[in-house]
């Protein structure tokens, strides 16, 4: 008995456990020079040791140091290492915006970025890889056009998430940031989950994990909005209404009214989330967008009132849940309607478009480090244009000969995808995916392969190499059997990219560095043709380098995004491989947000971009009608002056009797720089002028946000 007690006083015994208390075999236990490993039951014994500091470690787990006392059992539960310790397997390289340490821009930063007007799309434009080719919210990503970006809201595709939509996009997004909880922006090499997108993906979610009652009212000089979150039984109702009328801004500045009917924009959004028991939940999303305007314009030989009305309604149902412990499923069904009416004197077109979309997908955790994700998606669109336009687009006289039309056509796509994600080694991950799609218009089937290799260089430092092929249908305007060419081929692209991403702490600050090099090759781009209207003989290429440096610390947050782009395309009216409107080689955004004192923030931003390409007019020749025909130089061979804009924003946050008040004043274009939107010419093309951009003068915007 005594010898047993003496032995116990000269040894350290214990057990090492993993998560959930499961025995951890093979863990190393070390006390000074003595060292052992745990057996199959996680037990260990260090004989001849009287106690002291003991280090316990195991691969993939955070090591622990404990004070051991001989004769007392030492029980150790090891926690898995931080998230960076094992490589995270994702595709391509993306930017995330949500409330989390892994996000590139937090939601608060979207709100407080000067010049972004609390618009998620405008904030995303500050990320490298997105060109400042225009001041609107549309995304020109790495030389691609805005319609090459797939935009999703709660799993459903959004065709026109902009106010006053045009062929490129619109000035502001129609999705209220107050409801947005997460945005994933993937500028290249995105996963096989996303079909019918050539350049990039923007995936927006308004889902919240925890119902919290809140109300927000936003009052700005040009716009007003309100949003609320209300628990509804076990579920949650989220709603938002916004209205914007720039005429108020014109009155504020004493400007002459430009519009006969104010360009009024309204949007309303509803999101209802309901738990179904277990981990299943149902959510419904409804987004309505309305834009009206009327203004006097001159089209060729006629000055008259141009009216435009756009109404859009998107509704979707989303169900998510789990089956067993390792299968997560999601079903999305939705429908959208878009009505557009424009008129100019007796001419005009009324377009009705209805789209139905379905998506079913699942993720199976096949084993430690192995995941299979797959799904089916289908969408179908019917378009119904009706109207009258002149035969000669240089003669809009009401008496001119024209054609009237009324017809309908439809387009659709059915696709399937499968992605395998595997941690091949603790520091090497692979994502390998493929998708097949069958398009109804044009009638063509495609197959795409996409792969990403991820290497964890050190904790929170990752290198990713990705490659893949992508397809997308040309815009419906170009596929239109009556005014386009339904025999066009699908647009195709190949992405190659290498991305390095590192996060580290220095003092109180967290730094995020990202460098990404890419190359994209396009095929079957649409070129204008005098006989067939459009043909698929175009091609293109883009290469570039994106850089992001971000510093986050209490008191001062700042980031700098720079993108270098070299892109050429044979597309549209560009008959040879050359510059196109998206060829903007240098883009820079710098944002700095300082907390002057608690509740008072001063933010500044600066954006610079090389001037957008333009086609110079070298001279003019008289035409038989008495006018002048321009003699154009090389297509997009000239450039607008460089774009530069600085914005300042002061934000005051106060809380009084449970009401949080955010007061802000923003000076947009603080340098009062007259940036150019395009060149204009006198009728004889002898003198060139400049049409200034939307925010081409110093503008003061002030507002208040009340939340309770």
């Amino acid at each position: 008995m005594l010898s047993a007690l003496l032995l116990a006083a000269l040894e350290i015994r214990g057990a090492v456990l993993g998560p959930g208390g499961t025995p951890l075999a093979g863990a190393t236990v070390q006390a000074g020079a003595a060292r052992t490993t745990t057996d199959a039951k996680g037990a260990f014994l260090l004989p001849g040791t009287t106690g002291g500091r003991v280090r316990i470690s195991a691969p993939g787990f955070s090591a622990q140091e404990r004070e051991a006392v001989a004769g007392e059992a030492l029980l150790v539960l090891l926690e898995p290492e931080g998230r960076g310790a094992v490589v995270e397997v994702t595709e391509g390289s993306g930017y995330s915006s949500q409330d989390g340490t892994s996000s590139t821009l937090s939601r608060l930063e979207v709100y407080t970025t000067p010049g972004a007007a609390a618009d998620t799309f405008q904030a995303v434009k500050g990320l490298p890889g997105v060109s400042n080719a225009s001041e609107g919210a549309e995304l020109f990503v790495r030389g691609g056009k805005p319609d090459e970006v797939g935009i999703y809201l709660n799993g459903g595709r959004l065709a026109r998430p902009f106010h006053h939509p045009n062929t490129q996009g619109g000035i502001f997004a129609a999705v209220d940031t107050a409801l947005v909880t997460k945005v994933d922006f993937i500028p290249g090499g995105f996963s096989a989950r996303y079909g019918d997108a050539l350049s990039a993906v923007l995936d927006i979610s308004t889902e919240v994990a925890e119902p919290v009652r809140s109300t927000q009212v936003m009052l700005l000089i040009p716009s007003q909005g309100a949003s609320l979150d209300r628990p509804l039984g076990p579920g949650l109702l989220r709603a938002s209404v916004r209205r914007s009328d720039p005429v108020l801004l014109d009155k504020w500045y004493g400007l002459a009214p430009t519009f006969e009917e104010s360009p009024l924009s309204t949007d309303a959004q509803l999101n209802w989330q309901m738990p179904l028991g277990g981990a299943a939940r149902l959510s419904a999303t409804l987004l309505g967008i309305r834009d009206h305007l009327a203004t006097t314009v001159t089209l060729a030989n006629l000055q008259d009132t141009y009216r435009n009305r756009n109404d859009s309604l998107v509704g979707s149902l989303q169900a998510t849940g789990t089956t067993g412990e390792s299968f997560v499923w999601q079903l999305v069904a939705g429908h959208s309607r878009f009505h557009q009416d424009w008129s100019f004197n007796r001419w005009g077109i009324r377009t009705r478009e209805a789209t139905t979309f379905l998506r079913a997908e699942g993720t199976w955790m096949a084993g430690p480090g192995h995941t299979l994700e797959g799904g089916l998606d289908r969408d179908h669109t019917q378009r119904d244009p009706k109207g009258a336009v002149p035969f000669d687009l240089a003669n809009w006289n009401p008496a001119a000969a024209g054609r009237t039309f009324a017809y309908a056509f439809d387009a659709g796509r059915t696709g399937a995808y499968l992605t395998w994600r595997a941690v091949l080694a603790p520091r090497v991950g692979l994502s390998l995916g493929g998708r097949v799609d069958r398009y109804g218009l044009p009638r063509e089937s495609t197959g795409d392969l996409r792969a990403t290799l991820s290497f964890l260089l050190r904790e929170c430092s990752t290198l990713r190499l990705a490659a893949g092929t992508f397809h997308q249908a040309p815009p419906l305007d170009q596929l239109d059997p009556h005014s386009g060419n339904p025999d066009l081929r699908l647009l195709g692209a190949t992405h190659w990219l290498a991305a390095w991403d590192s996060t580290f702490k220095a003092g109180a600050a967290t730094w995020n560095l990202r460098v990404e090099a890419y190359r994209k090759d396009y095929r079957h781009l649409v070129v204008e043709d005098p006989i067939l209207r459009y043909v698929s003989t175009g091609r293109g290429e883009a290469r570039g380098l994106d850089l992001l440096v971000k510093r986050s610390a209490p008191g001062w947050r700042a980031w700098l995004g720079y993108g270098w782009l070299d892109t050429r395309r044979r597309e549209g009216r560009q008959a040879a491989l050359g510059p196109v409107p998206t060829s903007v080689p240098h883009n820079l955004t710098a944002v700095s947000i300082h907390t002057l004192r608690p509740g008072l923030e001063l933010a500044a931003s600066f954006r610079y971009a090389t001037g957008a390409p333009a086609t110079a007019v070298l001279g003019a020749t008289p035409n038989p009608g008495g006018g002048w025909d321009p003699v154009e130089g090389p297509r997009f061979g000239d450039r607008l002056p460089a774009y530069a804009r600085g914005d300042l924003r002061l934000t005051r946050i106060r809380s009084f009797r449970g009401v949080r008040t955010v007061l802000f004043a923003e000076v947009m274009n603080v340098l009062n720089r007259h940036n150019a939107a395009r060149y204009t010419y006198t009728p004889d093309f002898a003198t060139r002028g400049v049409e200034e951009s939307y925010f081409s003068r110093r503008i003061l915007v002030a507002g208040v946000n009340l939340a309770w």
Binding site: A15, L17, G20, G21, S62, Q64, R66, E67, L74, L75, V76, L77, E79, P80, E81, G82, R83, G84, A85, D99, G100, T101, S106, R107, L108, E109, A209, E210, V212, R213, S214, E459, C460, K505, S552, P554, R557, P598, G599, I653, R654, S655, G658, R660
Partner: protein, 251 residues
């Protein structure tokens, strides 16, 4: 019951008996790092149903995160996220308050999310207090949250003091729970935090009495001895230095 069945009764009683709660469960908030890690492993090995030990495990994790977040923030945040997930499934008032406290820690990892997390935590504390107004732990955790909230957002020492005084009174009035696994901590802890808030509010003599009362209840209370007492001593020294000097030098 047949007489022969009586012989089986002790076996049934033994089989139905739960293992006793491990030592230290009632003083989790006062354990040092080694003590917490030992208790964490003991709880993991305990064969009681997961539901019974969930609060204790979550409280241990909360304390571990608070102690290790500076040294290993990634592992600490991962542990905090797992704990929040466990607590999200629980609707009892003590767990609601502990979840609120965990959200307070989360703000430390994500200062940018304070705008959304702080009101969420506040809502949880209010809900927990409405469900169990006599709980000293809920009042204490709410008070700690208020103490760490900037003054312009409705926080600060002055606003935390009434809550802490209520927590101390509730702890004194609370009887020992019948369930040995039920949360029963809070008396010494409420006194220690009250002392801290009193020191910050410039009430140094009262702070000294409070911290001494906390140490009298648990002389090994590391937070009270190592953190609160030096702050109270500093506040006392400051108040003595600021006291008006007797111009005659007779005092």
């Amino acid at each position: 019951m047949r007489p022969s069945a009586l012989f089986l009764l002790p076996a049934f009683v033994l089989a139905a008996q739960e293992p006793a709660p491990p030592a230290g469960l009632e003083r989790i908030a006062r354990l040092d790092l080694d003590g917490l890690r030992q208790l964490q492993a003991v709880l993991a090995l305990s064969t009681v149903p997961a539901e019974r030990k969930a609060y204790g495990e979550a409280q241990v994790a909360y304390q571990l995160v608070a102690m290790t977040r500076a040294k290993d923030p990634k592992a600490a945040e991962a542990m905090l996220d797992r704990t929040l997930k466990v607590l999200q499934a629980r609707r009892d008032p003590e767990s609601l308050a502990l979840r609120g406290a965990c959200l307070g820690l989360k703000i430390g990892f994500q200062p940018g999310a304070a705008m959304s997390l702080a009101p969420e935590a506040e809502g949880l504390f209010r809900e927990a207090r409405s469900l169990a107004p006599a709980s000293p732990r809920i009042a204490l955790q709410h008070a700690v949250h208020v103490l760490h909230t900037p003054e312009f957002f409705g926080g600060g020492a002055a606003r935390a003091l009434p809550l802490l005084e209520a927590a101390v009174r509730a702890a004194q009035a609370e009887a020992a729970p019948k369930d040995p696994w039920a949360p029963a901590w809070g008396r010494a802890e409420a006194l220690a935090w009250l002392a801290l808030a009193q020191a910050e509010a410039g009430r140094a003599p009262a702070a000294r009495a409070s911290v001494e009362a906390a140490l009298a209840l648990d002389p090994a209370y590391a937070f009270a001895r190592g953190v609160v007492k030096p702050k109270v001593d500093a506040a006392l020294a400051k108040s003595t230095a600021q006291a008006p000097k007797d111009p005659d030098g007779s005092r």
